[in-house]
């Protein structure tokens, strides 16, 4: 069976560095960090007191007050990003096409804030005080559920939950639905809102986060020798994927074509990546194979690059395994110095960054890069954005549980 071609026709972000794609991109290429002290709740006792928070987000700009009150923050982010992406695409959902338009927007964690608030109610007032909206607000699939209700999209609906690889897996699975002919368009991406007391405590306990509280904008240092962990981010990235002919027939603007997807498991450890990077390397090799491109054809890799000691060294090793002698030629960057680690949303906003790199022929930099690490010796596009023709870009994500996923995007070529 011939696979259908799939293109990106709409994009939306709610991020720590902007709630629209243009502002997000400007800040990415300017290398302007969105990391700041946490003020939303008292963090004085927390070893990590900084995060990349979404500021100036008013849910009622995107939905009614009543609807917004029934949604956890992670769902509000997703609905807002989906609305922006759908408007951007110009795709109208109507009864005729609705059964063929689906939604695949996941979250790594789900409605943690709602769970915490309602647990407090349970402890203070007992069972009868708990809100009937606890469950529909908290469950992780509700971003996709609410987006379908908001847009009327009645096609394939669900989400893939793979921790920090969620956004990448969701876009990949959505791509497959269209390739297989089960949908003509998919609203896909990831969302996260876990900068909460419990969320921060959990990640603090793992000692996975940077403790550079006095220097927030320089705290996230992917691939640098002095990196000391990731910085938690939040937000959502959602795109509209569309079957090529359908997009062309309605005169849609095509941002880029998605041409490859892969997903593998480390089968190694719950949170530590396999230090040999075997699972990640397999995902990278498989995604190039799926896309039908050679390593030397790839112009840019938007790396997972969390800024943890193990991740960045392992990811570098994985890239070397697949790219071999070409590893030093490919431009690699991690945008997490700017956005923090948006967990389940990370893969989606980073895929959007890869699409924009193809569109503008600009590679966003890895910021805060000062001290080279012998274990990370590739070209990480340090500190300054780089103008370079980007025809093919790869975006990869690696999640707790040992999930590895990758996508390939290509500048759209009409042929």
């Amino acid at each position: 069976m011939e696979k259908r071609r799939v293109v990106v026709t709409g994009m939306g972000v709610i991020s720590p560095v902007g709630n629209d794609v243009a502002t997000f991109w400007e800040n990415l290429i300017a290398g302007k960090s969105g990391i700041r002290p946490i003020e939303r709740f008292d963090v004085s006792q927390y070893p990590t007191r900084i995060a990349a928070q979404v500021l100036d987000f008013n849910p009622t700009d995107y939905m009614s007050r009543k609807d917004s009150r029934r949604m956890d923050r992670f769902v509000q982010f997703a609905c807002a990003a989906a609305r922006i992406a759908l408007e951007d695409s110009g795709l109208a959902v109507h009864p005729g096409n609705a059964p063929q338009i689906g939604v695949w927007v996941g979250s790594g964690i789900g409605g943690l804030e709602t769970m915490e608030n309602q647990h407090e109610v349970l402890m203070a007032r007992g069972c009868s005080g708990v809100s009937p909206f606890l469950v529909p607000m908290m469950i992780t699939n509700m971003a996709s559920g609410q987006i379908s209700i908001m847009t009327g999209a009645r096609g394939p609906n669900g989400c893939t939950v793979t921790a920090c690889a969620t956004g990448t897996n969701c876009i990949g699975e959505a791509f497959r639905f269209i390739q297989r002919g089960e949908a003509i368009a998919m609203i896909a991406g990831g969302t996260e809102a876990s900068i909460t007391p419990l969320g921060m405590s959990g990640f603090c306990a793992m000692k996975a986060m940077s403790t550079r509280n006095d220097d927030p904008s320089r705290a996230s240092r992917p691939f640098d020798l002095e990196r000391d962990g990731f910085v938690m981010g939040e937000g959502s990235g959602v795109i509209v994927l569309e079957e090529l002919q359908h997009a062309l027939e309605r005169g849609a603007r095509v941002y880029a074509e998605i041409i490859g997807y892969s997903t593998t498991a480390d089968a190694y450890h719950v949170v530590q990546p396999d230090p040999e990077g075997a699972g990640a390397a397999r995902a990278l090799a498989m995604v190039l194979d799926d896309a039908g491109v050679l390593p030397q054809e790839v112009d840019y890799i938007n790396a997972h690059g969390t800024g943890t000691e193990i991740n960045d060294a392992m990811e570098t090793l994985a890239i070397k395994k697949v790219w071999g002698i070409n590893a030093h030629q490919v431009a690699i960057s991690s945008t997490k110095g700017v956005t923090g680690h948006m967990l389940g949303a990370a893969g989606a906003v980073e895929f959007i960054a890869a699409v924009l790199a193809c569109q503008y022929d600009i590679i966003p930099p890895t910021i805060n890069y000062r001290t080279p690490d012998p274990a990370c010796d590739l070209d990480y596009v340090p500190n300054q954005a780089r103008r370079r023709k980007v025809r093919i870009a790869v975006s990869d994500s690696l999640g707790f549980g040992g999930h590895n996923a990758a996508l390939v995007v290509r500048k759209y070529e009409h042929n």
Binding site: S64, K66, R69, S128, G129, P132, F133, P136
Partner: protein, 79 residues
């Protein structure tokens, strides 16, 4: 504050309808678009506001704002 005004306050908060749209004869489901979860939440808030225990079944027969107000007034008298 009258019972009606208190009920109105709860409805405004939960259903996000303008206060002027809430009349004695307004039907909770048909006119004010309350769903089953909204009603559960309304009952919880009214219980808090009036210091009452309202059995789940009570709302089955309460269709309009007036029904709710009359029910609450009756329960408050019994208190």
């Amino acid at each position: 504050m009258s019972v009606f005004d208190s009920v109105k306050e709860v409805i405004v908060e939960i259903l996000d309808v303008p206060p002027e749209d809430i009349k004695h004869e307004s039907k909770l489901v048909e006119d004010l678009e309350a769903d089953s979860l909204d009603i559960v939440e309304m009952v919880m808030q009214l219980e808090d506001k009036f210091g009452l225990q309202i059995p789940e079944s009570a709302f089955d027969d309460l269709k309009t704002v007036k029904d709710v107000v009359e029910y609450l007034e009756k329960r408050l008298q019994e208190k």
